[in-house]
C-alpha cells in the first residue's frame, strides 16, 4: 500500500542576546556554575515582573523576514500555564494567537509561525549523599527562545535534513544564534504521520533528536514503523517518541491522547507590542545578504560553478574571506577561479590567515623554482628504492598507495614539485620497472 508522509518541524533556537528575555541577567552561562546567572525575575520570585528585551524581538523579526513571514504589526505575549519543576512561575511566557511572524515560506516548506518565548530552567537528576535528588539550575531560565513551526509539508528525511541545514545556515548568517545542538541552543521536534491522501488524525512526535543525522534516521525508522502498523489495518498511537542511537530505533516516551490544556491568556504584565511599517522596514534593511542570494551572486560575478559557490557561501566567514581575497586577486592578476579552487581543495584555515597573506602565499608559490626533469627523476628514483614494499603493493593493484609515494617525493623536494607531475612520473616509473 502506498502512503503519503506528512512531516512538520518545531525548531527551538536560543537567541544570542546579551541579556535574558525578561530581565537583565547575562546569557553567557554555558560552562558556569549553576544558579549564577539569576535574579528575582528569572527565578520567578514573588512580585517579580517581566520586561521584554527589545533586541530579542528584533532578532525574531529578522528571522521571520528571512523565512519570508508576514510580520504582525500588533502582537502580544501570552501565558502558557503548566506545571513542571523547571518552570518557576508555573507558566511560560510565550505567544499564542498573535506571534511576531507568521505565514512564511522557506525552501519549499510553508512556515506556520515564528514566535518568541522564554527558555525553562534545567533539571539535573543525580544521587547526593546516597539519595536520589533532582536539582534545578536557573541559569537557562528566561533565555530568549525562538520557536519556528512548519506546516506538515515535508515528505522524507532527506528533505527534512536539507531544510534544517539551510535554516541553520540562514540563522547563523543573521548572527542571531549559533544553533549549537550540543550546547542545546538548538532543539528539534519532528511531527510525523502517514496517511492515504490527507493528513491523518494522529501524529507521532519525535523528541530529543540531538543531531541532523538522528533526525534523518529517526524519520526513516518511523516511516517504516508506521507503515507496518497501517498495513495491518491499525492506527499508530498518538505519542512522543525518542531516538535510541544504540539500538537504531525510536521508542515510546509518553503517550498523549489529547492535547494538553495550557489555558493560554494574554500576559497582563506586558503591554501589547505595536510595530509600524517603518520599524519593520528598518529591521528588514538590516538583514545581511542571505546564503541563497550570495550563492547566486557568486556564480554570476565570479563565474563559479554552482557547487563551488555553495561551498564558499557555506558560512558568512568563508564567504567574506573569499570576497576579500577575490578583490585582491584581481589587482595581482590572479584568476579568481584559482583562488576558489585553492580555498576549497586545500581546506585553508581562514581563521589563521588574512586575505592579504593568503594572496602573498599564492604569489610566492607561483614564483618558487620548481624541480623538474633530471632532478625530479633523481628524487623519484631514490624514493622508489627506499619503498620497494609499497611499490610491490601498488603493482598488486593497491593503487591508492601511490599517494604515500607522492608525499615522500614532496618531502624530499621540500614541496617544490608539482604533485601532479610527481604522481605522473611515479606511475610511469613503476609501470616500466
Amino acid at each position: 500500500m502506498e502512503f503519503k508522509v506528512f512531516i512538520g518541524l518545531e525548531i527551538h533556537i536560543e537567541l544570542k542576546t546579551k541579556a535574558k528575555m525578561f530581565c537583565h541577567c547575562g546569557t553567557d552561562y554555558f560552562g558556569h556554575k549553576p544558579n549564577t546567572h539569576v535574579c528575582p525575575v528569572c527565578l520567578g520570585l514573588p512580585g517579580a515582573l517581566p520586561v521584554p528585551n527589545k533586541k530579542a524581538i528584533e532578532l525574531t523579526i529578522m528571522v521571520g523576514q528571512a523565512l519570508n513571514c508576514r510580520i504582525n504589526s500588533f502582537s502580544k505575549f501570552d501565558r502558557k500555564n503548566y506545571f513542571y519543576p523547571d518552570l518557576p512561575k508555573g507558566y511560560q511566557i510565550s505567544q499564542y494567537d498573535l506571534p511576531f511572524c507568521k505565514n512564511g515560506k522557506f525552501l519549499d516548506v510553508d512556515i506556520t509561525r515564528a514566535h518568541l518565548e522564554e527558555d525553562t530552567a534545567k533539571l539535573a537528576h543525580l544521587k547526593l549523599n546516597g539519595k536520589e535528588v533532582s536539582l534545578i539550575d536557573f541559569n537557562r531560565s528566561g533565555i530568549p527562545l525562538l520557536e519556528i513551526v512548519t506546516e506538515p509539508d515535508i515528505k522524507n528525511s532527506k528533505q527534512a535534513k536539507e531544510f534544517l541545514k539551510k535554516l541553520t545556515q540562514t540563522v547563523r548568517y543573521l548572527d542571531v544564534s549559533d544553533c549549537d545542538m550540543e550546547k542545546g541552543s538548538m532543539r528539534l521536534e519532528v511531527n510525523i504521520s502517514l496517511g492515504k491522501d490527507k493528513l491523518p488524525d494522529y501524529k507521532v512526535e519525535l523528541k530529543n533528536l540531538n543531531s541532523f543525522r538522528f533526525v534523518e534516521k529517526a524519520i526513516d525508522y518511523e516511516i517504516k514503523r508506521q507503515k507496518e502498523i497501517l498495513e495491518k489495518g491499525e492506527k499508530p498511537t498518538q505519542e512522543t517518541r525518542g531516538w535510541d542511537e544504540k539500538r537504531q530505533r525510536t521508542f515510546s516516551q509518553r503517550i498523549k491522547e489529547e492535547a494538553q490544556d495550557y489555558r493560554y491568556f494574554p500576559e497582563p504584565d506586558i503591554p501589547p507590542i505595536r510595530l509600524n511599517e517603518k520599524e519593520i522596514g528598518e529591521i528588514k534593511k538590516s538583514l545581511p545578504e542571505l546564503p541563497e542570494e550570495k550563492k547566486r551572486r557568486f556564480t554570476k560575478a565570479y563565474c563559479l560553478s554552482d557547487y563551488n559557490a555553495s561551498l564558499l557561501t557555506e558560512n558568512m566567514k568563508m564567504a567574506n574571506f573569499f570576497e576579500g581575497t577575490a578583490s585582491l586577486a584581481g589587482e595581482k592578476g590572479i584568476e579568481v577561479k584559482k583562488i576558489a579552487n585553492i580555498l576549497i581543495n586545500r581546506k585553508v584555515n581562514i581563521n589563521k590567515i588574512s586575505p592579504e597573506k593568503f594572496i602573498r602565499n599564492i604569489l610566492k608559490e607561483k614564483t618558487k623554482p620548481q624541480i623538474k626533469g633530471k632532478d625530479l627523476n633523481k628524487i623519484i628514483k631514490k624514493v622508489l628504492e627506499n619503498n620497494q614494499k609499497v611499490v610491490k603493493e601498488i603493482k598488486k593493484g593497491k593503487e591508492g598507495a601511490i599517494e604515500f609515494l607522492v608525499g615522500q617525493v614532496m618531502r624530499e623536494a621540500k614541496g617544490q614539485v608539482n604533485p601532479n607531475q610527481a604522481r605522473k612520473t611515479l606511475r610511469e616509473k613503476i609501470k616500466s620497472a
Binding site: 506545571f83 491568556f265 506586558i270
Partner: protein, 471 residues
C-alpha cells in the same frame, strides 16, 4: 505630641521645628501598637528593634541638616509588599516564613525618602477578600467597633492608620481593597491609575487590575505619598511614562465650576439607605463649593462584578501557580479556602471549551465598561459614588456566603476594570460607624481627585472625629 491627631505633614513640621524627634515619634507609635494591636490585630510582623535603630539614624541625619521629604517618618506596609530581610507573608500560611531578598520598587522609593518601617500589616490572604476575615493570621478588627470588620483586603493598613498605630500605610487595590477598608475605617484611601505606581515587588493578585496605593488620615498626606511613590519603573513594563505631578502643590486650587457626575447605576437597589443619604449630603457640600453636580449613566455597570469575578480569578489562578511547594517551603496544601476557590474558578474559566464563553466574553464586556467611562468623562470631570453598599458589617456575617461577600466590591471593581483612579474619603458616620465616599476620574487625573477631596475634607474634617475609637 498628640499622636492620635498627627498626620504626615504635621509630623514633618514637628520634626523640622524639633518639637519631637523621630525616635520619640517611633516610640510613640510602637507604644500605641502595643496597647491597641492585641485587640485589633492589624499587624502580622513588627519591626521594633530595626525601627528604633532607624529612628536614631534619622535623628542624626536631621541634626546634620540632611533634607529628605520623609526622613524619620514611620509607616506600615501591607504584608504583600516585599521588604528585604523582613518576613512577607501575604497573610498566607504558604509564605509564613518567607523572607524576601529584595525590596519592592515602592518600598525602595519610600525608604530612600527616609521612611521608617514599623511593621507589616494584616490582610486577607493573597488580598482575596473584602473584610480581613480571610487572613490566615486571624481577623483584623474595626477600631470603631471591634465586632465589625475593617474591610479588606487592606484590613490591617486601614485599622492601623485609623487607630493611630501608624502615620500611614501602603495598600493594594485590585477590586476595592484600599478604598473599601478606608471607607469602613474613616481614612483616606487612594487607588491610583493603573500604571501610575510600580507593581514590581508586590505579590501579584490579578496583574491587569492590581493598583498600588496607600491609606492616610488626610488627603494632603495621600497627595504627598503619591508624589513619592508614582513614576515609571524599568522593572514594570506596565508603568506609564507620563510625568508625575506636584499633587500637594496643586491641592488647594479652587474646584469651582468643576463638573461632577453622579452615576445613577450606583444608587440603585442594594445600597443601604443611610449610606445613600450620607453621599447625597456630601454632594450638597460639593455644590456649596461651587461644583456642578449632574446625574449621568454608566450603562454597563451591572456587568462589572461578573466581569471582575471572571478576569480576576483567571489571573489569580496563574499568579498563584508559582507557590507549588518547590521553592517556598510550604506547598499547595497550605492554601486556605478563598484562594482555593479562586484558583479553581480561574482554572475553569480559562479551560479550553469554556474560555470563549467566560474569559473572552468578560474581556469584551470589560472594553464596554471602559468605554462607558471614556464617554462620561467627555461630559463631566469626575464622578462621585458610594464606596460600599453597606456599613461595616459584623465579623462572620458574610463568610458563609462568598457571593454576598463579593457584592461588597460592587462600586469599586469598575475603576480597576477601567484602570482609572479612585479615592475614598470619609463622608460621615451612621450609628458611630464610618461611611466613605468615592471620587473617580479619568486616567491620570489624581491631581483633580486630590483637589476635590481636599476641599471637601477641609469643610467636613471627619478625620478629626475619631472619638469613637477604642482606647
Amino acid at each position: 505630641m498628640n499622636i492620635d491627631q498627627l498626620t504626615i505633614i504635621k509630623a514633618q513640621g514637628g520634626l523640622k521645628k524639633k518639637e519631637f524627634s523621630s525616635l520619640e515619634l517611633v516610640e510613640g507609635y510602637l507604644k500605641n501598637i502595643k496597647k491597641k494591636n492585641p485587640q485589633l490585630n492589624a499587624f502580622i510582623t513588627l519591626c521594633e528593634k530595626k525601627a528604633l535603630l532607624e529612628a536614631k539614624k534619622a535623628d542624626k541625619l536631621i541634626s546634620q541638616g540632611v533634607k529628605k521629604s520623609l526622613l524619620g517618618i514611620p509607616m506600615a506596609f501591607k504584608d504583600n509588599f516585599l521588604t528585604k530581610g523582613i518576613k512577607t507573608t501575604a497573610a498566607s500560611r504558604v509564605l509564613q516564613n518567607y523572607i524576601p531578598v529584595y525590596d519592592a520598587t515602592v518600598v525602595d522609593k519610600l525608604k530612600k525618602a527616609g521612611v521608617i518601617i514599623l511593621g507589616k500589616t494584616n490582610m486577607d490572604a493573597w488580598a482575596h477578600g473584602s473584610s480581613g476575615e480571610a487572613s490566615d493570621f486571624e481577623v483584623t478588627r474595626n477600631p470603631y467597633d471591634r465586632n465589625k470588620v475593617p474591610g479588606g483586603s487592606s484590613s490591617g493598613s486601614a485599622t492601623a492608620v485609623a487607630s493611630g498605630m501608624t502615620l500611614a500605610a501602603t495598600g493594594t487595590d485590585t477590586g476595592g481593597s484600599i478604598r473599601q477598608p478606608a471607607s469602613f475605617c474613616n481614612v483616606v484611601g487612594l487607588k491610583p491609575t493603573y500604571g501610575r505606581v510600580s507593581r514590581y515587588g508586590i505579590i501579584a493578585m490579578a496583574s491587569s487590575l492590581d493598583a498600588i496605593g496607600h491609606l492616610t488620615k488626610t488627603v494632603a498626606d495621600s497627595a504627598l505619598l503619591l508624589g513619592i511613590m508614582a513614576g515609571q519603573d524599568k522593572f514594570d513594563a506596565t508603568t506609564s511614562p507620563s510625568p508625575v505631578g506636584d499633587y500637594l502643590k496643586n491641592i488647594k486650587k479652587s474646584v469651582k465650576n468643576i463638573k461632577i457626575g453622579v452615576p445613577k447605576e450606583y444608587f440603585r437597589e442594594g445600597l443601604e439607605q443611610n449610606v445613600k443619604s450620607k453621599i447625597k449630603a456630601a454632594l450638597k457640600e460639593f455644590e456649596k463649593l461651587g461644583v456642578k453636580v449632574e446625574e449621568v449613566s454608566l450603562p454597563h455597570t451591572e456587568y462589572a462584578l461578573a466581569v471582575y469575578y471572571i478576569i480576576q480569578p483567571a489571573e489569580v489562578s496563574s499568579n498563584l501557580a508559582r507557590y507549588d511547594g518547590i521553592r517556598y517551603g510550604l506547598g499547595r496544601k497550605m492554601f486556605a479556602g478563598e484562594a482555593k476557590r479562586r484558583i479553581m474558578l480561574g482554572t475553569f474559566t480559562l479551560s479550553s471549551g469554556y474560555w470563549e464563553a467566560y474569559y473572552l466574553k468578560a474581556m469584551k464586556a470589560r472594553t464596554l465598561i471602559k468605554e462607558d467611562f471614556d464617554k462620561v468623562f467627555k461630559k463631566v470631570d469626575a464622578l462621585i459614588t458610594p464606596v460600599s453598599p453597606t456599613l461595616p458589617f459584623k465579623i462572620g456575617e458574610k463568610t458563609a456566603d462568598p457571593l454576598k461577600m463579593y457584592l461588597s466590591d460592587i462600586y469599586t471593581v469598575t475603576a480597576n476594570l477601567a484602570g482609572i483612579p479612585g479615592i475614598s474619603i470619609p463622608a460621615g458616620f451612621v450609628n458611630n460607624l464610618p461611611v466613605g465616599m468615592q471620587i473617580l476620574g479619568p486616567h491620570f487625573s489624581e491631581d483633580l481627585l486630590f483637589r476635590l477631596a481636599y476641599h471637601y475634607e477641609q469643610k467636613t474634617e471627619f478625620y478629626k472625629k475619631n472619638t469613637n475609637l477604642i482606647n
